[in-house]
Subunit: 462 residues, 2 copies
């Protein structure tokens, strides 16, 4: 689409659907929606829209479908695989004006929200009910974006990813039709599971305009712990000993020695050098939490743990996760102005030591600068690799690392993307990962969006 | 399809695909596959097949698709909504010869199995690894049937239904194409979630030939408890107090006083009369389990519990669930030779007291004989209503009860079926429950099975 040629008519028509201040063709607004937090190539949309109601989203999609205009939804822009970059231009729907909490179903441990709400804001509000939504991707993502990408994060090991914590959706389809999927019942066996089909479809099957999410009581007692091991492999070995013991950690994160060295450059952080395991446990009873922590410490010490530090209570917990969540930011400061590539593969946890060892070897072999940061309890491994923009060789090596990790993950029974989604960067691996099932995905895409207007250029290789 | 006219050619062709002893047109074999455990009208398939490999399933489907023959898969025949009744005749695939455990991924808490395996047999074998698959529908269902219907049962409140506990599938599509969905990574964000689309699709989108399931460590310590309350409503009130306290029961079942009176007619069972709450808790530590049980007892006693009985250990637990699992069988003995209708609606738990009260009233108003049996922790309510085969008035009233319960469940934000699936009996409610989303389900059905050969007559109203 060429903005200059079609924009005038379309913009006029859009301003009849939305008030004119919610339709923008300024370069400033368009460039604000050209790239997420990834290092993928930016691309501006032609028109930015801020819908306020489901009916408006429906009307926009009817028009777009008629005119064959690409439509891409935008939440907080915190994704890291280029998922909402409008690579074909067209209309960008910024969902931030649809950010209401529509209902707190306190006794059902559920909340119904609009997609533009940021999850940290939601959890702050829900705390007054003693409830929280566990998926925690780190960045203050929007609920709509978390649903679209099936975001996960540090608490998936206990509570599951976003997919496992959604009960019902309102979705606007490519033709403007509004549908409701699922129900507020936690048990559902009524026809095809459209809810979980839409979750993770990255805005390519429909635009989510409402979601009912599962919540959990905030546990009464928390304990956070760090354990340091001689090697990443020994740390990884402890991971499934802890899970196998039935101790049910809330989080089980692994940082390699490089990641720990980089995070320690922040004056407020002082971790024991070496591969660190970050852990969180919780309980309704303080005694039982104490028992759990004693078991955890025993497991770590039997496995050549060099240092074990535990702290019960909110402060220890807060400090630990602040450090974890600032990891990416500290990396960005450590490599100022550099480009980066974040890998995101995931394997069965028994294969994690193999993956981690090979990853460290590949980083060294390729002469790259970067760390391993891992949601080890899920077998989900990230690398953060940095290089100057002009350094083509390192960029090629980073892409090579990504390719090697994907191929290794697939060979180990895993997936090319655990939580960042396919977006732009992983589309090229879809045929390899899914084989003939990719054609089934295409059939579903064609059935629901025959004109291909929804977030084109994503998920499917071209 | 008229068996007499087409069977000779087709049977001949099928015997070239399978050895001839695995192709049957005898009335004995056909009538063994004419009805599940429901009271729906039986219908015989034309030909019964026992495939042994995925390739055989694929070849059968290629032929069936070419010849437009209906194909229905059959697991253990324990479903109760007519889900595998071959209402259009055609080919019936009995999956019992595909019942291997293909791999125990012990360190990943996963198992890969064929669909004909019965889950109790699987769990018996997995016990040697200290692992189990939690969904427990009571009857010894096949894994394929549990996946197809998204079976749930008593442990869903803690572990989720079958859907939540499957990672990857091998599926044969209507055209014979074999696909693999998902991966063995617990985190997956790689394209459309075909795994969860196939689960619960009741054999209408493809035939499952392999599944990788999530397992859990068998907890070290169990405690079972029963609590008796003056009314169903008071018992239901306790349910979300227990869940809200973060105590995480494994199971939380509610039986009304009629169900308890009927189950007490069995000489080996001696429950305190009145509405009973059956509960199970577990822990890795005996002390912490003791604390939990003290908290549970306190909650029950604050809520006018008439009697509280708890027993720690496997024996108490076994006794409780034997009674619960024999409930249906004892009902059948209590109403010998009678027909029955099992309702299966599910609502948000806050709405369960309303649903339970109204259900009791409807049963009385309609002059029906029957009990309320409920997975209360999930808001999932069953009624078991019995009537003589010739009693048309009671049959009409039973259907009326079913209709009223579905309408009430939908009005309360719930679903027409929590765990039995749509099958035959719930198809008429699909438009009401799903509105325009039902057309999306039809679009997916048409895309994946354009000739409509897979389990026709199910899910979609006609």
């Amino acid at each position: 689409m060429c903005a200059q040629l079609v924009a005038i008519d379309i913009v006029h028509e859009l301003t009849t659907l939305l008030s004119s201040e919610r339709v923008s063709v300024t370069t400033a607004d368009r460039s604000l929606h050209a790239v997420d937090q990834s290092a993928h190539t930016p691309h501006m949309p032609d028109i930015v829209l801020w819908p306020e109601t489901t009916a408006e989203v429906s009307n926009i999609l009817k028009l777009a479908n008629q005119q064959r205009l690409p439509v891409t939804a935008w939440g907080a822009g915190t994704s890291i695989e280029g998922n909402p970059i409008p690579v074909r231009g067209g209309l960008l729907l910024n969902m931030q004006r649809m950010s209401q909490i529509l209902a707190v179903h306190e006794n059902d441990f559920q909340v119904t929200v609009q997609p533009g709400l940021y999850y940290k804001d939601m959890n702050r509000m829900l705390a007054q009910y003693g409830l929280f939504f566990p998926p925690d991707p780190g960045a203050n993502a929007s609920i709509g974006g978390m649903l679209a990408n099936n975001a996960a994060g540090i608490r998936t090991v206990k509570y599951g990813a976003t997919r496992e914590n959604v009960l019902a959706l309102e979705v606007v389809l490519a033709n403007g039709q509004i549908i409701r999927t699922g129900s507020r019942s936690v048990k559902q066996s009524s026809g095809y599971d459209l809810t979980h089909l839409i979750v993770g479809s990255e805005g390519t099957l429909g635009i989510i305009t409402e979601a009912t999410l599962k919540l959990y009581p905030i546990p009464a007692f928390f304990s956070a712990a760090t354990a340091v091991f001689p090697t990443v492999q020994e740390a990884a070995q402890v991971v499934y000993e802890i899970i196998g013991s039935g101790l049910e950690p809330n989080a089980l994160e692994l940082l390699d020695e490089t990641a720990v060295a980089i995070i320690n450059t922040d004056p407020s952080i002082n971790l024991v050098p070496g591969p660190n395991l970050f852990m969180e446990f919780s309980s309704a009873s303080e005694n039982s939490l104490g028992e759990t922590m004693a078991q955890v410490q025993a497991i770590c010490e039997e496995s050549d743990c060099l240092n074990f530090g535990a702290g019960i209570g909110q402060d220890a917990r807060k400090k630990l996760w602040e450090a974890r969540h600032r990891l990416f930011e500290i990396h960005l400061h450590h490599f100022p102005g550099e480009d980066f590539l974040l890998a995101d593969v995931s394997v069965p946890i028994s294969q994690y030591p193999t993956l981690a060892k090979a990853t460290a070897q590949h980083i060294a072999d390729l002469g790259l600068k970067g760390s391993i940061i891992s949601h080890a309890g899920d077998g989900n491994l990230h690398t953060a690799v940095f290089f100057p923009h002009s350094d083509t060789r390192s960029r090629d090596c980073a892409n090579q690392l990504n390719k090697r990790l994907v191929e290794l993950a697939l060979a180990l029974g895993g997936t090319s993307t655990g939580e960042h989604g396919v977006g732009i960067g992983k589309a090229k691996y879809m045929a390899q990962e899914h084989g003939p099932a990719l054609e089934v995905m295409r059939q579903i895409k064609r059935a629901l969006d025959p004109n291909g207007i929804l977030n084109p250029g994503k998920i499917f290789p071209e």
